[in-house]
């Protein structure tokens, strides 16, 4: 086929999903001349699985993306159908925001944002080749039709499209998600560049018609008031305009599944890809947990302008007739009508151990990966990586230092560190338990953690930064005031204290001391604190957290400082581990393969012991 030159860009982003969007916006906003290539313009920002953004740990990711100047939180706020703060009773470290989102609206909003972004071109084309020059650095991309674009960096955000293959019962065909085409050309090109690829799989449940459900038989799950927006820029919080519902499987459902298990491609061994344990199909759950009497199903609206409903918890690769049969055993689903069938999808993704913390391939200068292509799962995980890859692609071209986040700074940092030091053997989903610093990485303080950095790096706008400064100053002032304010004993105060189940006071006490009691919060003390300025609900909550968790926060900060010292120790890229005496062979091999950038990264590689790390540090000191 004739190849023809179609233009030049600094950064090419391959894929218009959640990773690709943040990557393209970040690169363009930092001034890089950027092109986003997508298989179909109508597929931009698609949510091929849950019509929801956020959730445990994922909500924190969205907040972090927003605090750094990313787009996901803003788009989620504009398209919210229902919002809930999860884990309210379990402590601030694990409060997580989640919204049901109007997926058609979300696509529209994001596409519009991309189209209006300066320095960014959005192009519908399948990239089938990424080309490197004689030095091995990326120099161009080629489309299926033969168009060549000269580029200096390329970010692969291929999602589940790379050699995508769909399984539904005995049916099996090449495709991307949601009836889109698979990307079939790129794999070979990436392999020849030295990218090591493997197969992962994931699945999605059926979508059903709203009118075929008897909602009177289900539990209603309304949104939560007042709604907390994702974006620190959103001034008017979105409204709850839809309900979700909860249904349950029963023994009959499980029997249908067991009777038909032989028709599942997962159990017949047809699927080779490794699926995530946290996202098991319903047949998986029934087989692995035979004693569980029922499984929960969340019935979620896909949008205001559609009757499609999503059945969270019922992902399956069983044939359509079996899915219909077992769904109809469920109370409220007796007459259910399927609009889109459930399926499993298998796809190529890279081994993230080949990446650095900027998400660039160690041995392929200019090539970056983000999102499901890196072995993760989830829109939020993808978006976070996209932002980091986009920022770094642009910075590198501009001769600036890498922009990376530490484990104690952000879930984004934790996610990337896990990927590049531990790798993943199944699609990686963010969880709060993956962060040893979760009391620091809270939903409420993402801006305190990151906005300053985002501003210095150039992604945070003046407007956002101004608001952040104002909030931060208000917080510091109030924090100081609460520490100085004295509350005097009074009948009314002691009555309130006793009602809250805590002891009355007989002497004046500083407000901060009273707030340390787990039973009390800022709101309780408001009537007894006449000098208090008007505070936002958010700020009040932050003061509460600051006081109550001080001890734990200090503890985690101390642990973070330890970590920092290790991550400040950089390892020269050309260090010959085999020449270091005292290093165990296993450790030397692992380290040679992964070539960690810092002692911190090295210490988290499995097979590298604390003794090995000591030896390494000593060696580095000798080199210094």
């Amino acid at each position: 086929m004739t190849e023809y030159h179609m233009g030049e860009f600094e950064v090419a982003v391959v894929g218009g999903g959640h990773a690709g969007i943040e990557a393209a916006l970040a690169a363009a906003r930092l001034g890089a001349n950027t092109a986003l290539f997508t298989l179909t313009l109508d597929g931009i920002a698609n949510m091929p699985c849950n019509p929801a953004i956020g959730g445990t740990a994922k909500g924190q990711l969205v907040r972090e993306i927003d605090a750094l100047g990313g787009q996901m939180g803003i788009a989620a706020d504009k398209t919210t159908l229902q919002s809930r703060m999860l884990n309210r009773g379990k402590g601030p470290a694990v409060h997580s925001l989640r919204v049901q989102s109007d997926r058609a609206e979300y696509r529209r909003v994001m596409k519009e944002t991309l189209e209006h972004q300066e320095n960014l071109r959005v192009i519908q084309a399948e990239i089938t080749e990424v080309r490197a020059d004689e030095t091995g650095a990326i120099c161009g991309v080629v489309t299926r039709l033969g168009a060549y674009y000269a580029v200096k960096a390329c970010i692969i955000c291929a999602g589940t499209f790379l050699n995508g293959k769909i399984f539904a019962g005995e049916g099996c065909y090449s495709a991307g998600p949601d009836g889109m085409l698979a990307a079939t050309g790129l794999t070979e090109s990436l392999k020849s560049l030295g990218v090591s690829l493997r197969r992962f799989k994931t699945g999605t449940p059926a979508r059903v018609h709203r009118r075929s459900i008897d909602f009177s038989r289900l539990e209603r799950q309304p949104g939560e008031e007042p709604v907390t927006p994702f974006s620190y820029l959103t001034e008017t919080p979105p409204q709850n305009i839809c309900d979700c519902y909860i249904a349950y499987t029963n023994e009959k459902t499980h029997q249908v599944i067991r009777d038909n298990i032989h028709r599942s491609p997962l159990f017949s061994g047809q699927i080779e890809g490794i699926g995530p344990r946290y996202c098991p199909s319903i047949e998986d759950k029934v087989v692995r947990f035979p004693h569980k009497e029922r499984h929960q199903i969340f019935v979620e609206p896909c949008g205001e302008s559609t009757e499609e409903m999503y059945l969270q918890g019922m992902s399956s690769s069983l044939p359509e007739d079996v899915v219909l049969q077992f769904l109809r055993t469920i109370e409220g689903f007796e007459n259910i009508q399927i609009m889109r069938n459930a399926y499993a999808i298998e796809y190529d993704c890279c081994d993230p151990l080949q990446l650095t913390a900027t998400l660039e391939f160690k041995d392929i200068p200019g090539l970056y990966g983000a999102g499901q292509f890196n072995g993760t799962s989830g829109y939020e995980e993808a978006a976070g990586q996209g932002l980091i890859a986009g920022v770094n692609a642009a910075r590198k071209l501009q001769g600036k230092s890498p922009f990376t986040l530490e484990r104690d700074e952000a879930y984004i940092g934790t996610l990337i560190d896990d990927l590049i030091t531990k790798g993943c053997n199944e699609p990686y989903r963010m969880m709060t338990s993956r962060s040893e610093f979760r009391l620091l990485l809270r939903h409420d303080n993402a801006d305190f953690r990151l906005t300053e950095k985002g501003y210095e790096m150039g992604l945070v706008t003046e407007e956002r930064y101004r608001r952040f400064r104002a909030k931060k100053e208000a917080f510091e002032a109030e924090r100081k005031r609460v520490g100085e304010t004295v509350i005097r004993p009074s009948e009314a105060l002691n009555r309130m204290l006793e009602e809250k189940g805590t002891s009355p006071i007989s002497l004046p006490v500083r407000e901060r001391e009273l707030l340390k009691r787990p039973q009390l919060c800022m709101a309780d003390l408001a009537p007894f604190d006449p000098g208090r300025p008007v505070l936002s609900r958010e700020l009040e909550e932050q003061i509460d957290i600051d006081v109550k968790y001080e001890g734990y926060i200090t503890r985690q900060e101390a642990a973070a400082r330890q970590l920092r010292r290790l991550s400040d120790m950089e390892i020269p890229a050309d260090l010959d581990y085999r020449q270091i005496s005292g290093l165990r062979l296993e450790a030397a091999e692992k380290l040679s393969k992964l070539r960690p950038a810092t002692i911190g990264q090295a210490s988290r590689i499995s097979g590298v012991s604390p003794a090995d790390v000591s030896v390494l540090i000593i060696r580095l000191n000798q080199l210094r």
Partner: protein, 457 residues
């Protein structure tokens, strides 16, 4: 994990008995830790003392005085490690040194790893390259190769116990993680009361395990053992019998031993750091008096007392004093001179000692019986089965640290602190246990969530 922001402590003199033993504390909080365990005669605090200063006083474990020591204060970078350092020069004897070390660990120091002081010295630029290479080899090496098969066997048991404890804690941490990360799944969650109960029980178990450190010491580093008794009861003869040499001067003149004579001997499984002491009696001789006082001090800090009675003479007031001193310590009564006609009523000793043994030190009879009594008294037999025992200060320090964190978690639950903070504490305790078995907590918890809970979209 390797960390020079932590303050570490260890016995800095070679194992075994010597005239003086040194416990070194090094790190940013070294002097504060020293403040907590050291009491100066006039109330001076190490932290308020300039470098290169010696203070005289006592080391305490809580309210219990352990030893009379010289505390040397060094201020970084002018110290061996280059960090703030306090060194206690103690009265030799590994049992005593280990008590002093434990007091330091309780006061906030972490046990130093092998070669740790040297490594810190290197990192702070106090050692040259050649020296550093040697340290690297030292740290890289696993074990000293000299460990006996029997010890390894016992260590295996300990590590299985730790493994089992870690698994139990992983269950709790996993349940907490599952409930937090999958809040909308209808999981069978552990109630805070159940979590509390489990954590409290575990703290108790680990605390008991930590206490076996004494028994571990008996096997590896020796138990400080004082031989006491009235003059001429045959203490020195017993010492010589046990040590197989004429280390103590044996004469027939009462009061010959005026100082404390030390010797490390193996008696069956047990390693005893024997201290032969002056005979206990009222005396006008000032030199002998000093010896008597030293004997009493020695008995007060001993882990085991061998109280020797003369079986050929009736129970005396001085013997009564011996019984009094032995009270409250593991003690074995030895009725000596079984070769001579008995004029001693053993029944007066009943109930006042862990074991009563008859022997003839002179004719070397009854040694097996004594060996058995020592093993029984130090509970060495129970070590053969059961949960294993703690051998190293590192293991001990880790366990004590773990127990402390677990108790903090229980306290947090008691005053209504939210589960996120409790889960952090659980993870911290788990990290301690896993560090001893070489794993990482966060990975273990995530595994647990997926193994035991049905979660997902």
């Amino acid at each position: 994990m390797l960390d020079t922001e932590q303050t570490v402590a260890a016995i800095a003199t070679p194992a075994g008995t010597g005239g003086i033993g040194v416990v070194r504390i090094s790190g940013p909080d070294a002097l504060t830790v020293a403040d907590r365990v050291f009491r100066h005669k006039n109330g001076k605090k190490p932290s308020q003392t300039p470098g290169y200063t010696a203070l005289y006083g006592h080391v305490y474990d809580g309210d219990q005085p352990l030893d009379e020591v010289i505390c040397l204060v060094f201020r970084g970078p002018a110290s061996f490690t280059g960090e703030d350092t306090a060194e206690f020069s103690c009265h030799g004897g590994s049992y005593l040194l280990s008590r002093v070390l434990r007091a330091c660990l309780k006061a906030g120091a972490k046990p130093a790893g092998p070669g740790e002081f040297t490594r810190r010295a290197f990192l702070n630029g106090k050692l040259d390259l050649v020296q550093a290479e040697a340290v690297a080899a030292l740290i890289g090496a696993r074990g000293d190769g000299a460990a006996k098969a029997a010890l390894e066997n016992r260590e295996g048991r300990l590590s299985r116990t730790l493994q089992a404890e870690a698994e139990k804690l992983t269950e709790v941490a996993g349940a907490l993680a599952a409930s937090v990360d999958f809040p909308e799944e209808d999981l069978a969650e552990l109630s805070p009361a159940e979590i509390r109960e489990r954590l409290a029980a575990q703290a108790e178990r680990l605390s008991r395990l930590a206490e076996t450190f004494d028994q571990g010491k008996a096997l590896t580093e020796g138990v400080s053992t004082a031989i006491i008794g009235r003059p001429n009861a045959g203490k020195s003869t017993l010492m010589n019998l046990l040590s197989g040499s004429n280390r103590s001067i044996v004469t027939e003149i009462a009061g010959t031993t005026r100082d404390v004579v030390e010797q490390t001997v193996r008696l069956g499984d047990a390693l005893l750091n024997l201290a032969d002491t002056a005979g206990l009696r009222r005396t006008a001789d000032p030199v002998e008096r000093l010896g008597v006082d030293a004997a009493k001090d020695r008995a007060a800090t001993a882990g085991l007392i061998l109280a020797v009675f003369d079986g050929s003479r009736p129970f005396s007031e001085e013997d009564e004093e011996v019984c009094r001193i032995a009270r409250g310590t593991h003690a074995i009564a030895i009725v000596n001179k079984a070769d001579l006609p008995a004029s001693f009523d053993r029944s007066v000793l009943e109930g006042r000692f862990d074991r009563i043994v008859s022997l003839s030190a002179k004719e070397e009879r009854g040694l097996e019986e004594l060996q058995e009594a020592v093993a029984q008294t130090l509970s060495l037999h129970q070590l053969e089965g059961g949960e294993g025992i703690v051998f190293s200060a590192r293991q001990y320090g880790a366990l004590v640290g773990g127990v402390e964190v677990l108790r903090e978690a229980v306290a947090a639950l008691d005053c209504g602190v939210t589960l996120d903070a409790v889960s952090i504490l659980c993870e911290e305790a788990l990290n301690v246990l896993l560090e001893l078995t070489g794993k990482r907590a966060s990975a273990a918890i995530v595994e647990e969530v997926f193994r035991n809970f049905c979660v997902g979209k």
